[in-house]
């Protein structure tokens, strides 16, 4: 297995479970189950045991590996020099399960759907661009930016709403954008996180080819997962593009006054950092800057924020595979309770996966009257 030479070096000390200030455990799967095997140290020791033939692969072993949401908290807070490879190790261990065909059924179904249908929803490819019908957003020809919305933005109702809001703002600000519509494909970020390296590379190469053929130089993503794939992974495969997340562009448009003056919107907002935007790519200020630029809005931070933010539980493919499952201790419900503690009326998000996860959690907690999950673009539109 790749990285096997360093797996035995984990001391299982547990620094990786925490936030920087140790206020609480910050590993979503550990928060859910409370058993050490579900934290990074547990995974390291189990992978090492598997490498040493002390344990065999099993459904439960696979479940433990696949319950990791790749939020990256462990990499940020591990105290050892091999910290940067923790997620690579977990990915490599999952890749071994993939090659042995011992993956949990929902993971298998996710891969199959992407391979056969091109998206995890098993929806027809020719409906991928439907979300943009009735909008002014054009198909990409030679615009300055490709607006890439991804699987969730293309097929999920919550995601489509978000894609429309962002698309509307970008278009109204006069930005030159275009979408791939039915030619868009999965970015592959979560496919990679789930250990299907081959499928990821196929998707990435296809996307890179399409982008290059169309002359794409700059990309705006709706989804931080796609942002991560394009910014961090595609360059390794020859795909070098200028990649932006939509909140970075909105921040720029507000700064340059290309978005009309906003009216007062008196509301208390707390912002949830998506892991693939924040911890994985260090984008913390842009979305906060957008929110703070809206008159009347009071932005209140949750105790766990920025590089210490608690994941909604939807990363690493869990949005689709739901290995973590539901219940009071599911990460999204914990996060909603944390948002409520701030007194905020709006839980602002910048990721379609987070939007859906947290929306569902608000309903499960029965607190729809107290807090609403809204994406950053939608909040701006309210203030227009």
């Amino acid at each position: 297995m790749e990285f096997e030479a360093i797996v035995h070096r984990c001391f299982r000390c547990g620094y990786c479970k925490f936030t920087e200030d140790y206020q609480d455990f910050n590993c979503p799967s550990y928060a859910k189950f409370g058993l050490d095997t579900y934290a990074a140290g547990g995974r390291m020791w189990l992978i090492n045991a598997w490498l040493n033939n002390e344990i065999k692969t099993s459904e439960h072993y696979a479940e433990i590996l696949y319950s990791c949401v790749t939020c990256g908290n462990c990499e940020k807070h591990c105290v050892f020099t091999f910290r940067d490879d923790l997620l690579n190790i977990f990915e490599a261990a999952k890749a071994e399960l993939v090659s042995e065909g011992l993956i949990p059924p929902p993971v298998r179904d996710y891969f199959k759907a992407i391979k056969v249908n091109g998206n995890p929803y098993k929806e027809p490819q020719d409906e991928r661009g439907k979300w943009a019908e009735g909008t002014d957003i054009q198909l990409y020809s030679d615009q300055e930016y490709l607006f890439y919305v991804g699987d969730v933005g293309s097929y999920d109702e919550r995601g489509k709403k978000m894609a429309k809001s962002v698309g509307r703002l970008l278009t109204e600000a006069g930005l030159s954008i275009g979408i791939l519509g039915n030619e868009e494909k999965s970015d592959g970020n979560d496919v990679k996180a789930l250990g299907e390296k081959w499928l990821f590379e196929q998707l990435a190469k296809d996307n890179i080819d399409i982008f290059k053929k169309k002359g794409v130089k700059k990309i705006i993503t709706l989804d931080p997962h796609a942002f991560n794939a394009f910014a961090q992974e595609y360059p390794k495969l020859g795909g070098n593009f200028e990649v932006w997340h939509y909140t970075q562009i909105l921040s720029m448009l507000i700064r340059e006054k290309k978005i009309p003056p906003l009216s007062a919107y008196k509301v208390k907002v707390t912002y949830h950092d998506p892991c693939y935007l924040g911890r994985h790519n260090g984008v913390y200020s842009a979305p906060r800057g957008v929110l703070k630029g809206i008159p009347g809005i009071e932005v209140i931070e949750m105790n766990r924020n920025r590089e210490n933010a608690f994941c909604c539980g939807g990363g690493g493919g869990n949005f689709f595979t739901d290995i973590l499952g539901v219940g009071e201790e599911s990460p999204s419900r914990i996060r909603v309770r944390e948002a409520l503690d701030t007194g905020a009326e709006v839980l602002a998000v910048a990721c379609p996966l987070c939007a859906k996860m947290l929306d569902d959690a608000v309903k499960a907690e029965g607190v729809e009257e107290r807090i609403t999950v809204r994406d950053v673009a939608d909040i701006i539109i309210t203030a227009m």
């Binding site: 360093i6 035995h8 070096r9 984990c10 001391f11 299982r12 000390c13 547990g14 620094y15 479970k17 925490f18 936030t19 200030d21 140790y22 206020q23 609480d24 455990f25 859910k32 189950f33 409370g34 058993l35 050490d36 095997t37 547990g42 020791w45 189990l46 090492n48 045991a49 002390e54 344990i55 065999k56 099993s58 439960h60 072993y61 433990i64 105290v79 050892f80 020099t81 091999f82 105790n303 499952g325 219940g327 201790e329």
Partner: protein, 460 residues
């Protein structure tokens, strides 16, 4: 599916109980070198009531139970030597309350040291607790159950001395309150002026009950904190240096460390001491008193204060000190074993020499570290070796070296801290027979079925 498993699931919920190979593998060991032994069940309860139900079930069925915090004692204390149920306490981590004026906190039995530190920093910035340098995951309850020490040990003694009340599930399942909380809503005393029953649980390594809640004394937190390091190449002078330092009553924590590498540290004994103050004047006054207390050694050129570079300070001021944990990977192998006998300070020179000799004999990287407890009443002397988990030969050498180190400490009047089963046996062989008899009486009366962490403190 066994009835026991079903019962545990009914108590704690399905996701929090396991009999799966993976959990049994993980909970069969700690990061140290003790032999492994698998539990039959692992359960992570959320409430005191759940703990009570589990204990009652275990007592009825005569199944061993092992309460567990973070499992970082490194001496195998949470290894279920006779199988049974490992109770992982870390889901019980509520900070129940803080009495600011009376300076104490009440926390659940699985609350981590790190979480209390963060909570106090956020809500009570004038208060602190005696945080150990173990990783922040270690639980407060487990730390007092093994008589741990922390940053305030020099001023106030063992962390178990700072307990101000206990709630314990007895081995028969009854819930028992110890100290002022047994007759009052307030948790300000673990014993006095009542009969002090806390001794039935503190230091017993989880063999007499499960701490589900505890009161912990808090102390003033000064606004400023600084570090000084006095270096001497004469280990024989360390006891006198410590005597002078503790006499000042100006120092927070005193640690002594020595190591062979890097080469600039070789042969030196570094006495790291911390001073605190609310204002510059206070801090500088304490610094002056500390410097003056060691004037005779400086004048004789037997030692001097090291210039602590600003870039080095955060490492020393860190609480807990992360660099202690990273010692585990010095050999790129994730292993770290240490015993920490409690000894008189005057024994430091011979223990330091012995550690070096043993390390050389077994060709091991060592870290000598000691912490002053009380005003020089005793010290914890860590016999610590790092090892490569992928090198069985090195692991064997560490075991042998550790055994020789602890034997030497016992031979020179030391007593064990967080002892391995083997060290417990060695200690009991040296104990007064009537002391042993009393321990046996206590244990048999509290735990008639012998279910609590069996194999530990087992008087035969």
């Amino acid at each position: 599916m066994s009835d026991i498993y079903k019962s545990l699931v009914e108590i704690a919920g399905e996701g929090h109980v396991s009999t799966q190979t993976e959990e049994l593998y993980f909970y069969a060991r700690d990061p140290g070198l003790m032999p492994t032994h698998k539990p039959d069940y692992v359960v992570a309860p959320k409430t005191t009531e759940e703990v009570q139900k589990i204990v009652k079930l275990a007592n009825k069925e005569k199944i061993p139970i092992v309460p567990m915090g973070a499992g970082m004692a490194l001496t195998g204390l949470i290894i279920p030597l006779k199988g049974g149920i490992v109770i992982d306490m870390k889901r019980m981590r509520k900070i129940v309350g803080v009495n600011e004026k009376a300076r104490h906190a009440i926390v659940e039995g699985g609350t981590s040291q790190g979480a209390l530190k963060a909570y106090l920093e956020r809500n009570y910035p004038n208060l602190r607790h005696s945080i150990p340098d173990a990783p922040p995951t270690v639980t407060i309850a487990a730390n007092v159950a093994i008589h741990g020490q922390g940053r305030l040990a020099q001023q106030y003694g063992f962390n178990s001395d700072m307990v101000s009340g206990l709630e314990v599930v007895l081995p028969t399942g009854e819930l028992c309150k110890i100290g002022s909380c047994s007759m009052s809503p307030d948790w300000f005393s673990k014993g006095p002026t009542l009969p002090d029953l806390s001794g039935l649980f503190l230091g017993w390594l989880g063999t007499t009950g499960i701490i589900t809640k505890l009161g912990l004394k808090l102390y003033p937190k000064k606004r400023m904190r600084d570090v000084e390091i006095f270096v001497t190449d004469r280990e024989d002078l360390v006891p006198d240096i410590l005597f002078n330092l503790t006499h000042t009553e100006m120092v927070e924590d005193i640690n002594i460390w020595f190591q062979a590498k890097p080469i600039m540290f070789t042969g030196n004994h570094h006495i790291t001491l911390y001073i605190t103050g609310d204002r510059d004047e206070e801090l500088e006054f304490k610094r002056k008193m500390v410097w003056d207390s060691l004037k005779e050694f400086r004048d004789r050129k037997d030692g001097g204060f090291m210039w602590v570079l600003p870039a080095m300070k955060p490492t020393f001021l860190d609480m807990p000190q992360k660099s202690i944990t990273t010692f585990a990977d010095v050999k790129k192998g994730g292993g770290f074993e240490y015993s920490g006998p409690i000894v008189l300070i005057e024994k430091y020179p011979m223990l330091a020499r012995n550690l070096e000799e043993v390390a050389n004999k077994y060709k091991l990287a060592y870290s000598g570290m000691a912490r002053v407890i009380g005003r020089g009443h005793a010290m914890m002397f860590a016999i610590a070796f790092t090892f490569n988990r992928a090198d069985p030969d090195m692991m064997q050498r560490v075991k042998k070296a550790g055994h020789e180190g602890i034997t030497f400490a016992f031979d020179h009047g030391g007593i064990p801290w967080k002892p391995t089963v083997e060290e417990q046996k060695m200690a009991m062989e040296r104990m007064d027979p009537n002391t042993l008899k009393l321990m046996k009486m206590v244990k048999e009366n509290l735990d008639p079925n012998g279910i609590m962490n069996p194999g530990n403190w087992e008087v035969n």
